[in-house]
Symmetry: none
Subunit: 235 residues, 4 copies
DNA sequence: AATGAATGAGACTTCATTCAT
DNA sequence: GATGAATGAAGTCTCATTCAT
């Protein structure tokens, strides 16, 4: 037990130190850009000596990667929960996008980090590593999106002419893209657009949801589902 | 005249050399990421000696910036032309987004470059410099977007509940974000989503347009289905 | 008694641990070269933690030195035994060189180790330490060699024109040199020379012995020379 | 011509700088051992700054390698010349070994360097690179050795029972091994053996030549012993 | 206009070692 | 006896940039 306690202490110390490094790194990556942050700066920010850092991470990529993993792990779990609570397909989608809007408000720095990651690292990093992480974020993989769209068409909450294999993928990509761009450009956009970024983001979501939602049955339309079936041909 | 001819030659030579450098840099930036490309590599790619590069650019930022300016200049002008040809507000917006879809297909490397630029540089570079360039891209500045939305509401092609100060800004941001993300992730996304990236991008645009478009007027909708089928062709 | 038992256990444990370290080190030294092996690698190979190593050795030199001592101790004793069994001086010398040929076949890694040691360390290490060890290897010191040559000249088995103060020293040096070089270059030599290294080594010994041996006595020798030359060929 | 002159100047400057680096390195390698010499020390010895060194060599291995190439190039050419002058096979071999004895006296540091190289680097360096260099040192490759032995047996200067595919290879290896060991151990051996190293080396050669030489022809040997004693004087 | 040569500054990383537990 | 944690010191190498020619 003494032994265990000791281990516990050691171990929690290790975890804490590790986190200090990650926190320092994340902050600096956000401030200066991943590739412009030197090990020396991270070490400085974490209040340790360079050689100590190498007891925890074997290089900068390792650190970047650990942050990515954190971000993914964090998001995936909470997104799932948010969606499970909703009833109709449209509600589920709305919940998911809402969840992203909240994430946006609460931790823009994580989103900026991911923006950097995508634009810089995606090309040079092992696809396998990335895919294994991404598998977590969309619960049940991408097929879940297809299922969602089909369910929405069936329950009448989504436009019948959506493509189950395409639409949600496109929408999610747009939302992520919009989110990251807003987070990256930050105050700059606010000044330029004269709007708080999260209003912009919520408007993006609103338009997208409007675009997916089944058209309101115009008074008597309910019965006359026919026009919507006409639109279906499009696809 | 001899003098003038010399100057002429000299000058065109200068221009050519400069372009060789920019081309080499752009290629490398796209392949390895802006911050991972050294002056030495650019110099190598351009087939000149390091000291020569400094006769044309005073540092790497200068080069990056020159490329940004090129991209902006290119886009702005052609986008304007595309929009001028369209009649209704919705058509103008559609034309603009279509134009972006084409740019996406034709020069994904430029888009990837801008993705890097946004996520890495936007924060640390002089806002003035950036704003002055961005002013060019949206002809007439952002107010043009507001005007467009107002016109669309007036001519009945856009939903009346759109916010002129917000919607188009949000939509454009989403489109740019989606575009850059798709370009950055490139083949990776294709494999993951099982869809060619430009189909994804066009679906994004379709949903956004559906979200902005005025709902078919309730009572007479049945009859007026024809115009909507007209719009369908565009896609 | 409990105390004593403990000590006994403790001590044998210590010895075993020490040997594990030496074994790991020797293997690594042979694979990568003494100066290219880090403490970390040794520690790793021995399955202990760095700080533990310092309970047994105070630095890498200490380890190298311990291995040298082992090699010396091992060789000296067995060489002596081999020589004692032989009768004439020539037989003794032959026995010594044979002994080296066997060592060559049996533990080339030890020989490679000594090759490294000579070329790298000899210069920078305390001569005293080295001499004290080398004293062991040639039983009775170098004077023994002189004695041997004189005995050989006297008993007619060695050429009379050999220099007792020189020849054996030169021969031993050549044998050791040849041995180490062959061991170091290993397979490389085999490929290059198209001969197994130990055939090469034995040929070296044969030539050296031929060079030292007294020429066959002229007059009646002719007849007796044939059998001996026949035997010679076998080797 | 002005251009050419300029180039000439530049170029010779480059060559001189390069040589300064190599000289400094060689000296240090000999004093402290290749792996114990840092770039900083070489740079210091050559009177340049670290970054300048990298304009001439891309790392330490490159430097080591350049020295090896020099040693090889140097030796090969002169050895060839020495042998060409001799008549009989035995004379050629004698000339070759003599040549090595001279090299030993004149540039022991180069030999020590090669000793280090063999024992440390041989294992880890590209065999191809090494073989391509070694091809130069033994003119006509190793087949030359076989030819030499056959010629010697034919012209009666070498023992008839030598193995053309083996003997010379073994002898050369022994000579090189002896040479390197003596050079490496240097003064240490002199003190220990009480003999100047080059006397030891020449004795080695003498014994080896005696071992290879055809025995004096039987019948008239007694009388013809004088010539052999004459040969002895040569030494 | 071009470039050969040099270099200061600094980046990342390894390593042997210590010490408290 | 073993070891987790930390670290000073050093090592190799890269890079942007300058300057004389």
């Amino acid at each position: 037990m003494n032994e265990a306690a000791k281990r516990g202490t050691y171990s929690s110390h290790r975890v804490r130190q590790r986190q200090r490094i990650l926190d320092a790194a994340e902050k600096l990556f956000d401030e200066h850009g991943i590739d412009r942050v030197s090990i020396a700066e991270i070490v400085n920010g974490a209040g340790i000596r360079p050689s100590t850092l190498y007891e925890y991470f074997s290089n900068k990529d390792d650190i970047v990667w650990a942050i990515v993993a954190d971000v993914f792990a964090d998001g995936a779990e909470r997104a799932k929960k948010a969606m499970d609570a909703a009833a109709t397909a449209l509600d589920k989608i709305t919940a998911l996008l809402e969840f992203m809007a909240e994430g946006f408000t609460q931790s823009p720095s994580k989103i900026r980090f991911m923006a950097q990651f995508d634009s810089m690292y995606a090309r040079q990093w092992s696809p396998e590593r990335l895919l294994s992480l991404e598998a977590q974020v969309s619960p049940g993989g991408l097929e879940y999106f297809s299922t969602l769209v089909r369910a929405g068409i069936a329950d009448g909450t989504l436009r019948p002419d959506l493509d189950p294999e395409l639409t949600m993928h496109a929408v999610i990509n747009a939302v992520i893209g919009a989110q990251r761009r807003l987070a990256s450009l930050g105050r700059r956009v606010e000044m330029e657009y004269g709007q708080p970024v999260d209003r912009l983001f919520r408007e993006t979501i609103r338009i997208l949801l409007l675009g997916m939602r089944a058209p309101a049955p115009p008074s008597e339309v309910k019965r006359k589902n026919s026009p919507s079936s006409g639109k279906r041909k499009k696809r």
